[in-house]
Each structure stands twice: as C-alpha cells, then as structure tokens.
C-alpha cells in the first residue's frame, strides 16, 4: 500500500514579460545572453490584484475537471505569498472549490523544496490512514516581492501554480525521502520586511547591489553566489543519499527532475552529479523559476510530451530558500 501521484495540472497567469521587454527596461541587459545563461525566455507575472490563491484556485479547477472533488479528503497549500496572515488560504480554497467540510486542510510555507515536502506529508497522511486522496497545491508569486528595478530577480522568477492529486494506491508510487534543513542560509534568500519581525517600511531605502539591481528591504533579496555555493555543496550529496536510501543506482532511473532554478546552475549540477544529459530535465524557457511549482510543472510537461511515461522511475529533487531541501524517487 502506498501513495501515488494521480494527476497534475498547472496554471500560469496571463501577463507575460519577455527577455525583449527586460532588454528595453534595463540598459545593457541582453535578451540572448539572458536566455543562454538562465534558460528563461519569458515569464508569467500576476496582475496587481491577482494573488497566489487565485492561481491556486485556477490550477485546482483544472485538475478537478477530471477528478471528483468529493473524493478529496485533505488539501495542502504551499506558498510564501499568503493571502492573509490568517485565516489560512486553504480554508478559503475549500469553500471556493466546494470541497466537503469534513476535509483536513493546511497551508505551509516553503519555496523550492515545497513540492517534495508536500509529497512527503501526503505520503505520511495516506500511510497512516489519516487521508486517502490528497490535493497538494504549490502556488507562488515571487514577482510581488521583487523590486521593479531588480534586474536579476525579475529575470529569473516567474509566477505559477500547480495542483497535484496524490492517492492511496495498492502499489507504492512514492519512494523513501531524504530531507534537509539549514537555517544558516536564511539571510541569503529572504524578504526582510513585511512580516512581524520587521514591518513593511514605507521609507525603506533603495539598495544598489553594484551590478545593476536595485531593491529595498521590503523586497526579495537573493545572494546568488551563496545560494549557488549551497546547491553545489548539498545537491550532489542529496542525490547520492536518495539513491542509496531507495537502493537504486543512477543507471536504473528513467529520468531526473531537479527544481528548475536556472539553466546554468542545473547544467553545472548535472555535470557534478554525473547524470546523463538525456535523462535530465532542464526547461524553464516559458515559465522562469516558479519556485514550489517547478517540479510538478516539469512532471506534467514530461508526461504530456512523452518524455516520461506511466511506470517510469523518476528522481525528483528540490532545494533552495530556507535553506531547505529534499528528494525522493517516484513511480509515475
């Protein structure tokens, strides 16, 4: 008995910002260079009044077109762009989507590792008979945290949401997990103001990072070099640990999907972990880095394009903000 991903759908907001758009806004920023280094050509961004919950609702409606919503008995919403401090966004989702009131529901706050953690929690709920059919929504709108003049972060990140149905199944579709957490990295990917530690500062000073990007403490800050260092150190070890724990070798896997952070980093990590190019997914061309939605979007994309098929063994690995990381092997 186990937990298996049944269905995935995703939703990207309608407004698109292309590299050409960024080139016009930022002098010296070259559209081709952006694409070749980051792997991003365009990213979807929410409108002023559009929130992560709106995206979550749209992604959920899509997946529920082919799934009876009365079967869902637990819903999880992963986001770092909450609707309110309280109540949980997932409660609003319950009533908007017309789920039974007898469901369990919870929001949780994670970024790039969010899907892996959601899957781990869903598996736990299912195997302990707390739930049978879990809806896991990973929805993010980092663009709302990014300063308009932050060239680097506006290039990398995009908004989007994915809704994944995970069901109890006779055969185990989710392998053993390896998870990790290191708060030493907390200041390297952070929105300093706006929470309860440091309130939103209407007079926040502009900070120039010296390489073309402006932000204030009300905005997302990402220390690229430190985050890159973190991934170089943690991810290769994580891959080995997941393989070992699942008693599998790289050669036995059908495919590998890492959190889609940026093409350059992914290529480097691929070489370092010796994963063959043909087994490794890199695609953020039309989405940018959608944080907790990248992995489910990738899985859906691979299925739709026959890159993977039902029955394939796929290593999935998420890593980033927190620092937080995790990985497992799923049987599609």
């Amino acid at each position: 008995m186990g937990a298996k991903i049944k269905n995935i759908e995703y939703y990207l907001p309608q407004v698109i910002v292309t590299n050409k758009d960024l080139e016009k806004e930022f002098l010296g920023w070259d559209a081709e260079r952006i694409e070749s280094k980051t792997g991003v050509r365009e990213r979807h961004v929410v409108k002023e009044k559009e929130t992560a919950l709106d995206l979550a609702l749209k992604a959920s409606e899509k997946v529920l077109e082919h799934y009876d919503r009365d079967k869902i008995d637990f819903v999880m919403l992963c986001t770092q762009s909450p609707e309110y401090y309280l109540p949980s966004g997932v409660c609003i989702l319950q009533s908007e989507l017309g789920f039974k009131t007898s469901i369990g529901a919870v929001d949780y706050n994670l970024g790039c590792s969010g899907f892996i953690y959601g899957l781990a929690l869903a598996k736990g709920l299912i195997l302990s008979n707390i739930a049978s059919n879990v809806l896991l929504i990973t929805s993010e709108t980092y663009t709302k945290h990014i300063h308009p003049k932050d060239r680097s972060n506006r290039t990398i990140f995009g908004d989007g949401a994915a809704a994944t149905v995970i069901e109890k199944s006779e055969i185990e579709g989710t392998g053993k997990f390896v998870l990790g957490t290191d708060g030493a990295g907390c200041k390297n990917l952070i929105v300093p103001n706006g929470g309860l530690k440091n309130r939103y500062d209407i007079n926040a000073k502009e900070i120039d990072d010296g390489s073309g990007s402006i932000r204030t403490d009300n905005n997302l800050y990402m220390n690229g070099p430190e985050v890159f260092n973190f991934t170089i150190e943690v991810v290769p070890k994580l891959v080995l640990e997941v393989l070992e724990k699942n008693k599998t070798r790289l050669e036995d896997l059908d495919y590998v999907i890492f959190h889609q952070a940026n093409k350059y980093m992914l290529e480097y990590l691929r070489r370092k972990t010796k994963i063959p190019r043909e087994k490794f997914y890199i695609n953020l061309l039309h989405t940018g880095n959608t944080v907790s939605a990248t992995i489910p979007i990738a899985i859906k994309d691979c299925l739709d394009n026959n890159i993977i098929k039902r029955g394939d063994e796929v290593l999935i690995v998420g890593f980033g903000v927190g620092y937080s990381w995790g990985g497992t092997i799923i049987t599609i």
Binding site: K37, T38, G224, F228, N229
Partner: protein
C-alpha cells in the same frame, strides 16, 4: 595550471570577446560580462578546477584578476 592558462580559462568562462584585453591587472568589476550571471560561472569554474568554494564576502573583495588568483591561492598556479 599556468597563470596564462588561468586567464584564458577565465576569458572562456566569462565569454569575453577575444578582441578584448584581459590580463592580471584587469579589474573584473569593469567587465560587463562580470555581472550576477558572470559571477556564477566563475564560482562554477573555481569549484570544478580547484575544488574550492568561497563565501560571497570573499567574492565581493575580488577586484583584479590577480586578486582572484590570490583568493584561489598562488600555490595553485605555475
């Protein structure tokens, strides 16, 4: 590797045009290729070729090519 090999590797890594001068005295910060994306490529190069990683504080102190070589460690170059 030799010092000049390192400079050529750096040129390759940062995708600096062959027509552009790059020597030990070149201030990296003046190169448009040494932006936030360029820094990542240098981090990867140092990890791959020297097995070293540096904190962003150390990387921020880099000025010229020779300051980068000093950070990596003079003993690594012939």
């Amino acid at each position: 590797m030799t010092r000049s090999e390192f400079i050529e590797k750096l040129r390759d890594t940062l995708e600096i045009d062959t027509s552009d001068e790059i020597a030990e005295e070149t201030d990296l910060r003046s190169l448009e290729e040494y932006d936030s994306l360029g820094v990542l490529t240098v981090i990867a190069m140092i990890d791959e070729d020297f097995g070293k990683q540096f904190s962003s504080l150390d990387l921020e102190k880099i000025t010229t090519v020779s300051s980068l070589m000093k950070l990596i460690g003079e003993e690594n170059f012939e």
